[in-house]
Symmetry: D3
């Protein structure tokens, strides 16, 4: 089984760290290829960024299907390009939001999300509304830090997140938390361990771990998005040629 991971950043500098991070989440018969974007926003933190990066992500998903990949994970919690790409390819595609949000319901009936900024919180809130899970979603909080700064001062992200997790348990009675950014690498394990140590054994959901598991599940089960839900228009008839699309 071959999975393509698209990290929608303009840099490849995190790829090897991500590769290592992903390792425990994949089965022995799965291989992962990580790619990045050549143009677009440096990161996806607003609707503008999403519009700007979507066409290239879609192109790379179409390419992945042509190359014979079995599925694609777009490593971003705003699920950019996912809906559009589902109209164009047949292989399963997941972003960071849907798998984490749908899995949270197995673990908790009252959970929250931590995003990095108010702007990201808006994107995530709309995705939650679309996914129809607002009954369980207790709150969306933000740590108000730009993605690029997340890992600059060692230990700072850890502290900020730990404080936020404790506040969400106290003020909103959440019983699980979804990390709202795939850039929060390694944090789920750290936070789970710390919270257990202080007698508040909350589950912290890492979106990358869950998305990769979900994708493997879909591939093994032979499942993909429904073509009745994501109809495929015949682009040639409509004379649009901008984005390459596979014949099917």
């Amino acid at each position: 089984m071959r999975i393509k991971v698209i990290i929608p950043l303009l840099t490849s500098k995190y790829n090897s760290a991500v590769q290592e991070e992903l390792y425990p989440y994949i089965a022995p018969d799965v291989s992962i290829t990580i790619i990045n974007l050549e143009s677009g926003s440096p990161s996806i933190e607003s609707r503008y960024d999403e519009m700007y990066s979507t066409p290239e992500i879609v192109s790379k998903i179409v390419e992945s299907e042509e190359e014979g990949y079995d599925g694609v994970f777009v490593s971003c919690v705003s699920d950019p390009a996912i809906s559009v790409a589902r109209e164009m390819v047949d292989i399963p595609i997941v972003g960071g939001f849907e798998p984490a949000a749908l899995s949270a319901g197995m673990i908790s009936k009252h959970w929250g999300i931590i995003t990095i900024s108010q702007s990201c919180a808006r994107l995530v809130r709309d995705l939650a509304t679309l996914a129809g899970i607002h009954q369980q979603l207790a709150c969306i909080r933000s740590i108000d830090q730009p993605i690029n700064e997340l890992h600059k001062t060692p230990g700072q992200l850890e502290d900020v997140l730990l404080t936020q997790v404790k506040k969400m348990i106290k003020e909103e009675q959440v019983t699980a938390i979804v990390l709202g950014c795939t850039g929060m690498m390694g944090m789920a394990k750290y936070l789970s361990k710390e919270m257990k140590a202080v007698g508040m054994p909350i589950q912290i959901i890492d979106p990358t771990a869950v998305a990769l598991g979900y994708l493997q599940m879909m591939i093994r089960a032979g499942l993909t998005h429904s073509r009745l839900e994501y109809p495929k228009l015949d682009l040639r008839e409509r004379e649009i040629s901008c984005i390459k699309r596979p014949s099917s």
Copy 2:
């Protein structure tokens, strides 16, 4: 990774067929052990059956954790014993309903369930209400056939299901369907293929395939139910000794 599968029937006669059926859904590093019940209802089709079989299923889940299994799948779409067992063990446990219902949202925003009887439809409707997914759930239909009869006449189950799938697309505009019984083995593939052949490419979700994928995901991600959501009471203090419970 070792997974225990509990088929809550009083017979082991389907075990080898299920074993074969499961094979494509597990990774190479996963081993499966299938067990059955010694007492209880012959199958779980009512709240009475559920009450009657739950204690033995719980005991077997507790045993599985003691034996070192990494997770348990209770192969029944009424999710019997799942909530109770989550209070008692730390390893992840899934039934047939929650993973299938939560995954359907990735594939469709307007889907339905086919159950085998009105009685099962009631169990499943309550689970859907508890899971908070009613916004997407278009309908729950029943083929009104007892589980024991499902495989008696060759081709009959296929016909009945195919008719129902077509009606649900026409009358309820569903774009995906969850099979509401783990006894409908092999049907998802058959129905998907047939529906594609007649130009209605709907996704049919097999609860077993999805539950096993979900469980592997949880194990690899190190996730389990939240202890804040499923508190663990100290049974010794409360002097209850009926069901063996691990010290922890």
Copy 3:
């Protein structure tokens, strides 16, 4: 009219106090018989307790119908055994949760529940979700005290509840409160009086008072649970003999 009250404790020591407490809530033509359990959990405060006590409660409900009782009240706010028993008998059965929660909507459009522990709060939250009343339910709070300790120190329960009621009005703007444990005897009157005295005339709903009124209403109106909602499977055909079931 004869009503059976099942207090799902292993002791009869509260029965006479309860009997006296119930007196104002029943009409002159109604007689009450109070019974307890012989085995099971000492009280029902978790899903485990519920599983453990349910079979005996169901047996006692079936017996009550055979003895000619007109209805049964299971005196516990987690509504144990209620759904299962409705599959088995024709007389109306109520627990402590449903009548109180459904009646609160007559009195207030924004109300809360006080439970005794986080574990009970989970049981009650699931019942509220199933009852479909979450639009009105402002919050579920817990006083974090085990049932057995409720009446040990005189005045302590009164104080803890009064503090919680005031907090819920201030922080959640509730206009009525359901007491989430039938063991909080006498508290509704006390709290109502105290709150009126301080100029915050909130309604406090005692689950026992409401459940008994509801049951009398159902019996006089000739109403019971719908057999289409709670189908009755023929147990003899399915060769289950554990729990006695009336021929009908």
Copy 4:
């Protein structure tokens, strides 16, 4: 216990029939006084009728409290004057809708209402929305007959209702039905019996039976609407003198 029943019609000709009808629904220690209106609409079948009859109903409720009645039932499924009167008196007041709709949830999780006209259906739909019970309410159907004609041709109302009940079971899978007019006297028993005879044992809820039971429950439990929910403005300060209001 003394209960006032206000039948909001301009005629007293149904009073003795209603009195007889009510008899089984009240306890031996309860006395009922039935009154009618002197002016207003001949019956309440629209928002206009409601506006027109409300002031007199409110006056009669205020009077009932002054006369020492313990509670009032306004015998109409559009719950006219109920909210307003709750601002003015302290005794419990019920209409025909709220008790029936809230009780249906004990009996069924998927039920419907039969009203007499499209106009009444709109009133009832708004009440259902306000009560927050739309999750369970499967449908509101109308038999399209004016209230005055309900009892003219013997047997006609029975036939029309029976046909509608069967259609609602078949087309909407309801498991219980609320009769949406207090003028449908005797119909609940008839329909229940007929449906049981044809093997479709549905529960039919008579709003009068349930409302009277509810009111007795509230009186015995010492419950009434919350003053925090229905604030009482000091009318004398505001110099309004039209409708007599008790000093309190």
Copy 5:
């Protein structure tokens, strides 16, 4: 285009101020006539007030249609008489609540309302429930001041509202606020400006501005309430003559 504005107060003393206030919100081809009530409550702050003033408001709406007005705005956020009048006339009628609440969804997905008292908050909460917009409505807060006192001390209303707006942003994360009283003239502009100055650029929705714009839109679009939604009963047949009703 001719619009009638009904200010449901017993005084005309605010009319010229309102007239001036309205000016920017109407197009050059629109003329406005402002009228008041002769009897009824001095202002509408409770369900009692609403009942008391509704008949006269309805009469004045019926008159407006007879006089050839194209639409009516009832200048009160409790939308008094609106539903009833829609049964009686064909021209569009708006109150202060519906247009503001439905427009807020264009501007924000998480907004709140500021009312003048707890009593008004109850009226507004019921209207929000009926309008089906509770998913977006974050909170309803009250400044606890009677309408008559709103403009007595210069600057006081400004201060109280400004404090409340800041609290709602901080505690409820609202991104827009609807002013819940048409008597809060001039406040929307003031608050918007002040909040922008302190770097919290929230939108403040003035109900009058939005209602008048909505009404002009409906008139130009040829839209009005649906007669299928608000059926028109033939009053002559039913022998009600209290309120004049146009032949149609």
Copy 6:
């Protein structure tokens, strides 16, 4: 007041017809400028089309603000580019969906939408979910005709729509209908008239008429989208230069 109307087609051939159509919906002090797209999809009927046309629409909205326009209407019921553009400009922007859907609640509490294809129905369903109005939205139906063919055979669109309207009233009991395509010019008037003639006086909502009215209302009221809801990221800092953005 100057309004820019963007018709997101690659042709200007409908512009003069649209201009004439719009005339009754604008006030005398409003001027309209209609423009089209130079590249992108020929029409917006899928998520792919939306992705493809959005950047150019956004550019044209940014340009409109720079040119001093007071507001922009993007004439398409899938509301393309609306959310993104709200992050970038301060003037109010409306599409065809939101104003029509939010206004329908004034006219009806149970309404439907007619779209031109299953693909469009998916776009509209997601917008309805995001707008939080699903409680009122009875159904989304499709006439299954490509936009380009809508006006080819004279009278055909009229017939197809009339049939669908009648079916929706009969099968779904809708009391109003939103036309789900701005290309259905003139149809609202035609359908309203025909339906009135056959005694089914339903309201048909033309999205263009309502959107323009809404936009004029927002401009006169000084309202726009909340900056707290649509945060504005500083693009220069993030080194994105593709789409021109005004300094502010």
